[in-house]
Each structure stands twice: as C-alpha cells, then as structure tokens.
C-alpha cells in the first residue's frame, strides 16, 4: 500500500488543504496505484450521488395518519409483522365486526322463521273490536338486525375519518335511501301489520343496510392497509 493512500478519500471529497492538495496532485503524476484509486473512488461517488430516488407509496402517510388518529381514539391500527422487537402486531376492527356478524346471523335465522309466519286467528274481545296478535318473532328478528346495524354503525362512525369526503358522501347518500325505505316499510306495516309486501320490503331494506355497513367497514380496513386493489374491489361492490 502506498503511504499516500490515506489521502485519497479526502482528495476525492475535496477536503484537502490547498498546500496538501498540490503535493498530493504531484504524487498522483507518479503513482499509478493512487491515481487508479482516485479515479475509481470518483466514479463510485459520482454514481452514488445519482442513485434513483424511489417514490414513497402514498399508503405510508395514510397509515401514519390513521395510527395518530387511533392513538387519540381507542381503535388500534393494523401493523406489519415485520417490525422491530417490541412492536407487537395489534388486532383491529374485524374483532368487533365479527361480533356484529354473529348477532346478525342470529337475526337472519330469526328473520327467516318470521318471513313465513303461520296464519294466526284474530282474537275476539269484548264488543265488536278485533285485535290482531303481536308477531313476536318478527319483532325479535328486527331487534337482532337492528343490534347488528347499531354495532356496525358504531364501528363505521368511529373510523369514518379514514374515508375521503367523496366516498363518505356516497355512503351517506346510500344510507339515506335505505333508511327512507325502512321508514316507509315500517309505516306501511303499522297501518297493515299483515301486509306481506311491506314486511318483505322491510327485511330487504334492513339486509341492505347491514351489507352497506359491512362494506363500509371493509373499505375502511382496506384503506388502512393501503391495499388499493382491495379498495377497488369494495368500491366496485358498493357501486353494484
């Protein structure tokens, strides 16, 4: 090794004092080894300054934002399993959504029984008044459905900020249409409790609301994961 080799890096970096630089440059005229090293180090440094700067995926900021929001709220944010020791992967929204799906399953089972009720005789009471019996199974089914809707709605509302304004507006508009259908069906059933068409309309509207809320939660989850393909799939389903 040439005794002047320790000066190569500072020379390449332009960090030599002028007096030392001129002496080193005179040395380079006579030393093929140092001269070659200078040329190679310059080529490496030049290439290093021109390395590609890859763009940062937008989902990283989305996830950071969601994490900061969730640190202020209580719903945790999904983390990758590749992180440092001490950063445990956290559970997230599907736990609560699963509970709602269980409640919904019970509601659906009850609703199926309620959809084909056995004919019930009118009850003759004193005088000429006839009172229709209360359809207990229908009421129980509605209650289960509405419990599931309430749970899903709570999850969706708590995490709504993940969605952009336009998507939020579309979802609100869809919910508004479904709620209107629910109200109309209930009003019709109040006037005519035995109206099968009104009953079916109510069931359809309640089911639609559950599906919409499930899709909203799914969309929030996909956006948090930064999975654009997943987001596109959910939105495609919503548009249908």
């Amino acid at each position: 090794m040439c005794p002047h080799e320790p000066l190569v890096d500072d020379y390449v970096d332009g960090a030599l004092e002028p007096s030392v630089r001129s002496v080193f440059e005179a040395h380079l005229d006579r030393c093929a080894s140092c001269s070659a090293m200078v040329a190679d180090f310059r080529a490496i440094r030049s290439a290093a300054t021109g390395l590609e700067q890859r763009p940062v995926p937008s989902r990283v900021w989305t996830q950071i934002e969601a994490s900061l929001r969730d640190d202020r709220a209580t719903v945790p944010v999904p983390r990758s399993g590749r992180l440092l020791p001490g950063f445990a992967a956290k559970g997230w929204v599907p736990v609560a959504a699963a509970a709602s799906l269980l409640i919904l399953a019970i509601g659906l089972w009850t609703m199926r029984r309620a959809e084909a009720p056995a004919p019930q005789p009118a009850v003759q009471v004193a005088g000429n008044t006839v009172a229709e019996p209360v359809d207990a199974e229908l009421a129980a089914g509605q209650e289960h459905y509405e419990t599931a809707i309430a749970d899903l709605q709570e999850i969706a509302t708590a995490n709504r900020a993940t969605l952009d304004a336009q998507t939020s507006a579309v979802l609100d508009s869809n919910l508004s249409v479904i709620d209107h259908a629910i109200d109309e069906s209930r009003a019709a059933l109040t006037e005519q409790p035995a109206d099968d068409t009104a009953r079916e309309s109510l069931f359809d509207a309640l089911r639609s609301k559950v599906v919409l809320l499930q899709d909203t939660v799914a969309l929030i989850n996909e956006m948090r994961k930064g999975d654009q393909d997943g987001v596109a799939r959910v939105i495609s389903g919503l548009n249908q």
Binding site: D40, I44, L51, E52, Q53, R59, V60, S67, L68, S80
Partner: protein, 176 residues
C-alpha cells in the same frame, strides 16, 4: 439550526397536524430510500418509514435544537434501521457485525470505469451494515463526516474509516 427548521419543529410540538405532514413531505423521500438501501426491501422500508415517523411524532417534544432537524431525523431513522437489521441478524443466528469489523480489505482486480446504477445498488446491499450506513450518509445523502459521526454516534475518524472501507469494497465488487 435554521429558523425554518425551528419554526417547523415548534409547530409540530404545538400539535399542528399540518406541520407534521409538512415535515413528513419534506423528509419522507430521503428517509424512505435510506431505509430501503439499509433494509434491502421495499416492504421493510415502508414499515420502517411508518415507524420512524411515529417515533418522530412521539419524540418531537425532546428535540431541543442541539443539532439540525435533518440530523436529528436521520439519527432516529438510522437507529431504527440498524435495530431492524440487528434484530433480523439475531433471528438468523448470525454474528452481528460491529462497526469496525476488522475483516481484511478486498482487492480490486480491475478498474471501475462507468458505474451502472443497478450494479452500485446491488453492491451497496452487499456491504456490512456499519460501512453501508456511513457510505449512504456520506456519499449518497451528502453529509459531512462531522454530521455522519453525529448521526451514527461515532467519531469523525471512524466515519472516514468506514467510508473508505465501503469504497474499497465497492471498488472490488464493481471491478470484477
């Protein structure tokens, strides 16, 4: 530290969400690419970048302006990257490379003419973590040895030594 840095840090500390996003937009590109070249994969780099900025958010209260905001951020980022690499190495049951690994320096067998970008990327990925860190900070990011030393918690002399080792190794790999 510049007054703009100071103002940005103060706004972030005051809970200005817009200021924190501004900080992110200003530094995320460079820190992402640093994490990518340290960790060797885009998936790991995304996770690391997310964690780095969450740590920045938590630790901004402790930033007192003794160094520039950029140096402070890079120090946090590099510590995170090195912890990740050492954790990965521990999992693979390999000996952890120290900053001064004491290995014999490789010898160039030819000349480095034009350095292709991909060849350099691949070669950087083969550097031991200590000299890779110093090389990335000095030759790629453009920090002075004094700043590299602050970021890595080493002496200026060690920073120069690590960059020299990195260049020798890269020269050997690129001259084949």
């Amino acid at each position: 530290m510049s007054s703009a840095d100071l103002e940005l840090a103060q706004r972030c500390r005051a809970g200005d969400g817009g200021a924190f996003e501004e900080l992110y937009r200003q530094y995320s590109g460079r820190l992402f690419n640093l994490a990518w070249r340290m960790a060797g994969s885009s998936d790991a780099a995304e996770d690391l970048l997310q964690e780095i900025f969450l740590v920045v958010h938590r630790k901004l209260d402790g930033f007192r302006g003794e160094s520039s905001l950029g140096t402070w951020l890079y120090r946090l980022a590099m510590n995170h990257c090195l912890d990740y690499l050492r954790g990965r190495q521990a999992k693979m049951s390999r000996a952890t490379a120290s900053l001064d690994d004491g290995e014999a320096e490789p010898v160039a067998t030819g000349r480095v003419s034009v350095v292709a970008r991909m060849d350099l990327e691949r070669s950087i990925a083969c550097l031991p973590e200590g000299c890779r860190a110093a090389f990335l900070l000095h030759d790629v990011e453009g920090f002075e040895h004094r700043e590299v030393a602050q970021i890595l918690g080493i002496s200026e002399g060690t920073s120069k030594s690590q960059v020299h080792k990195a260049r020798l190794r890269l020269r050997a790999m690129l001259s084949r």
